[in-house]
Symmetry: C2
Subunit: 129 residues, 2 copies
């Protein structure tokens, strides 16, 4: 596996999930983490496609999903820009975190693992902060 650096972003693609989804998530996470400055321009669709060796349509799909989440804004003829509204970023971040929490709790319930046991399991895991 080789990771590819494009601008502020580092991409590591595999075949486990749809490519457009991986591109979407890489950028979304970078924004949520605060790794990229708000208001800055994303690589152009064609640029990113070429560097990641993907079809422009595939990158396009990721970009459109980002805009649907209001994480980016499109300016015709100029490019796609990360939103400058930190509140939007926080909302998205919170929503994604909530999804992950719900998925975890759901998984524990399906396995019949109670709360205290689940908390013990969590503590056993190395946690890089």
């Amino acid at each position: 596996m080789e990771s590819i650096q494009v601008g502020d972003f580092r991409f590591l693609l595999d075949l486990s999930k749809p490519l457009y989804e991986q591109v979407l998530q890489h950028i979304r996470h970078a924004i949520a983490r605060g790794d990229v400055q708000l208001g800055t321009k994303l690589p152009s669709v064609r640029d990113l496609a070429q560097q990641l060796k993907l079809n422009p349509n595939t990158v396009m799909r990721a970009y459109q999903e980002l805009e649907r989440n209001r994480l980016t804004e499109t300016r015709r003829g100029q490019g796609t820009f990360i939103t400058s509204d930190s509140e939007t970023v926080n909302q998205v971040k919170k929503a994604l975190a909530s999804e992950a929490v719900i998925a975890f709790v759901s998984a524990m319930e399906k396995l019949g693992i109670d709360r205290s046991t689940a908390e013990s399991l969590l503590k056993e895991v190395a946690w890089h902060e």
Copy 2:
């Protein structure tokens, strides 16, 4: 959505994931939770297929995956039986729990959420034990 009861199992299928995977997970979770007695016989491939309105091949695929996990044993001409080895069940349960924990921690890391914040989020969730 309508859930279908077959023997000791309750199935609720949708189109969000492969059908064979959903069948697999329903049975696997039932075993992990201890909802079914060890050593008992699963519905026959044809029976389950008919009741779930699936193709026998689809059910077959789920059953083969269960056997790969050693959660079931096949006796030619007799049927597919849940393992009697509770240790195997515990191992699988632990492995699945571990996967879920890792997925959760990974999600938090990707979002740049630290441990204490993640724990707070977990506490906000209603937890049916």
